[in-house]
């Protein structure tokens, strides 16, 4: 992905990041402004690692390159209930046990979490949602058509 696309995407993910970012431009502030939850730049970087573990870079872009961690943060901040936000942040804190470790260790940690774990569910659901709805995937892989202009109710497919 070229730089212009990356910047545009960041803008879209963050929805007003240029003006909304807090005035604190030290290394502590997150890339996008958050209204309800508090995260540091180090949390953001860790989240980027976690999402990259779920959707790694291969011959196509991974989560980090697609800014899916920013999308997870945005959705957590705006669309989750306060209870879920709290549970997520606690889960994120606990996950620091595997911070800086390799993808295998992180995967093993995530797999070990209970099925109903809010942190893992939110992380995974929002990462997948952000990925499938990303400009990259919708333009290059699972093509989204704004104007189909057709309808065939009985199209033959290979079984």
């Amino acid at each position: 992905m070229n730089r212009r696309t990356a910047i545009k995407q960041l803008f879209v993910v963050a929805g007003g990041v240029m003006i909304a970012t807090s005035c604190d431009f030290t290394s502590q502030s997150t890339t996008i402004a958050l209204n309800h939850i508090k995260l540091k730049k180090s949390d953001e970087d860790f989240l980027a690692e976690l999402t990259e573990t779920l959707i790694p870079k291969t011959d196509t872009p991974g989560a980090k390159e697609l800014n899916l961690h920013l999308f997870v943060m945005k959705m957590l901040d705006d669309c989750a209930s306060p209870e879920d936000q709290k549970a997520f942040l606690a889960g994120l804190k606990a996950a620091e046990a595997v911070k800086g470790k390799g993808a295998t260790d992180i995967q093993a940690y995530l797999k070990g979490l209970p099925a109903e774990d809010v942190f893992f569910q939110t992380l995974k659901r929002r990462t997948i949602q952000g990925y499938l709805n990303s400009e990259y995937v919708m333009k290059n892989k699972l093509i989204y058509e704004l104007v189909p202009g057709r309808y065939n109710g009985a199209m033959k497919v290979k079984v």
């Binding site: 779920l54 699972l142 309808y151 199209m155």
Partner: protein
């Protein structure tokens, strides 16, 4: 109002005033303007110009900040509108937020509103079936509500008239319970919908599955091209406003057509307070408006008043129009104003899967939404222990999905290579509810809105008839699904409040007898003949069909009558 002189009242005088710019108001305006009347349309919301004011219409999914979800805070603050299926990031700007326009729920009622030029015509689900004599003579036959003052034959030419202009897609199905119309080509059923149709029509004589009829231009005629509209592009992003004019809305169709005559004035931001009644002249003389932004009170004058504010707001305006002659609301000699409100019962659906026809899928999108099952219950005779019946939607779809259980490259590969699953099938009920005196709206004694107008108090609920009908729908559909070989059948009952169907009707009902109704057979207020009400509030009973097409027909018919009467000097 000392600053208003005679000249300024002249400036504020029109031949006709239409309250509301939605489906009914747009039609009233078009017909009035075409007949040469200088017409003022009052709209309480902001202006929305076709195409120009559809900010999301060409947006891609990734361009929505929350990928079309509504943020948690907005949902918390607006629980009612948040329950509406179409209240999403892409169309939220066309919905009224609960916090901005409060009302009193004596019983839970999800009042879904769109305050802007075009009203809910930008948002409707676009299903358009004619009513039949089974509906218009229903009350007389079954003994509920009061007799309609008209029959299908009275409305037929007006259905023809509005269908030709609006553009309705459908097939000639030859069903007396669902009369054929002036159709553009119908959108065909998909292969599983066709399969279900064959199963049902073979195994259950008298029951039909047809292509849903909808207000989309499947193949536009010259009259649609003249409106600046082109063929529906099957995008299914209608609720954002359609830049093609592919579906019918006031914004794309009737209002610009009315404007072309040079006779139309639209005044947005005009919250109607009441209709002005002159006790000496014995008729309505105009409309009192509160400017939405400045809160300024302004009177407009007109010879004809068309009340098209949408069902419950039309009730509110008439209730708030008090005079010496009408202390309990304009035209309310019968004391029925605000009463006999009814709606449609959408509280049950059923879904299943089909393992056959797996070598087919759907390509593209069907704006009609699939199939429609016309009412078959209690049609030719009363055969159940509940009154009336239900229609149903039916649709089949085949979606693809992927295993999301993994992580890393496995997950990524799985997501990028979705597999087609079984066909899914689904149906929802559209039941007729019985208008009852106890289902009413009224002005709240104490609560007022931001414009000093009393808030509407709504007291509407389901009854035993609805419960019995709902059970019959689920049992009957389950049996039909089973007979068609569908598997994993799931019955879903919703506890949704009335209102979420967005088909509220009544309160200003038509009738033969002024003692038991508000309007005569021309939608004319019995006791105030220059006021006409042609939106959902005029409905005497609710049928099982979607109501919007009937509001269009009523509006055009009433204007024709009103203008003739005006010319004859009768009103």
């Amino acid at each position: 109002m000392a600053n208003l002189n005679i000249d300024s009242s002249k400036v504020r005088s029109y031949d006709a005033i239409v309250i509301g710019s939605g489906i009914a108001g747009g039609w009233s305006a078009k017909e009035l303007c075409e007949k040469g009347l200088k017409t003022l349309v009052l709209e309480r919301g902001r202006d929305v110009q076709h195409v120009k004011d559809y900010p999301t219409t060409n947006m891609y999914p990734w361009q929505f900040e929350h990928r079309n979800e509504i943020p948690f805070d907005v949902k918390q603050e607006n629980p009612v509108v948040s329950r509406c299926y179409a209240f999403r990031e892409d169309a939220q700007h066309f919905f009224v937020k609960d916090t901005e326009h409060p009302y009193v729920q004596e019983k839970p009622f999800d009042w879904i509103r769109g305050y802007q030029v075009g009203g809910k015509s930008l948002l409707w689900a676009r299903q358009t079936q004619r009513w039949s004599d089974f509906d218009f003579d229903g009350p007389a036959r079954d003994g509920f509500a009061v007799d309609w003052p008209i029959r299908y034959g009275d409305l037929k030419p007006w259905y023809d008239h509005v269908e030709r202009f609006a553009g309705i897609s459908g097939n000639k199905d030859g069903l007396p319970e669902l009369p054929d119309g002036e159709f553009l080509p119908g959108f065909p059923l998909n292969i599983v919908e066709k399969y279900f149709k064959e199963q049902v029509e073979t195994k259950y004589p008298g029951r039909k599955v047809i292509s849903a009829r909808c207000a989309h231009l499947s193949k536009p005629n010259q009259i649609h091209i003249d409106q600046g509209r082109v063929q529906c592009q099957n995008r299914l992003l209608c609720q954002r406003g359609c830049p093609f004019g592919g579906y019918f809305s006031s914004n794309a169709s009737t209002l610009p057509w009315a404007a072309k005559t040079g006779n139309l004035t639209v005044r947005p931001d005009s919250v109607v307070h009441s209709i002005l009644y002159d006790d000496e002249k014995g008729k309505a003389i105009g409309v009192k408006v509160i400017d939405r932004n400045t809160k300024e009170e302004i009177d407009f004058y007109g010879k004809l008043i068309f009340v098209n504010a949408a069902a419950l707001n039309s009730n509110l305006i008439l209730l708030n129009s008090k005079s010496k002659r009408f202390p309990n609301g304009l035209g309310n000699d019968s004391e029925t104003l605000g009463k006999y409100v009814a709606f449609h019962n959408y509280s049950a659906r059923i879904s299943a899967e089909y393992e056959g026809l797996l070598d087919y899928k759907v390509d593209g999108k069907n704006p009609a939404g699939g199939g429609y099952i016309p009412r078959f219950r209690n049609l030719h005779k009363q055969e159940t222990d509940f009154l009336r019946g239900y229609a149903a939607g039916f649709g089949a779809y085949r979606s693809s999905g992927s295993d999301q259980s993994g992580m890393g490259e496995d997950l990524k590969n799985s997501l990028l290579n979705p597999k087609l699953g079984n066909w899914g099938v689904g149906s929802h009920m559209m039941g007729e509810t019985i208008p009852k005196e106890s289902n009413y709206v009224a002005l709240d004694e104490t609560m007022k809105d931001d414009w000093g107008i009393p808030q509407l108090k709504i007291s509407v609920d389901y009854d035993d008839n609805d419960a019995k009908m709902k059970k019959d729908y689920l049992d009957t559909m389950e049996e039909m699904f089973t007979a068609a070989g569908f598997i994993n059948i799931k019955r879903n009952e919703s506890s949704q409040a009335p209102g979420l169907d967005i088909h509220e009707m009544g309160g200003v009902r038509m009738g033969l007898d002024p003692k038991t109704s508000m309007l005569n057979k021309w939608n004319q207020v019995h006791s105030c003949p220059n006021v006409f009400v042609t939106d959902g509030s005029c409905m005497t009973s609710t049928s099982t069909q979607n109501p919007s097409l009937t509001y269009m027909a009523f509006s055009a018919r009433a204007v024709d009558y009103a203008v003739n009467e005006l010319k004859k000097g009768n009103i």
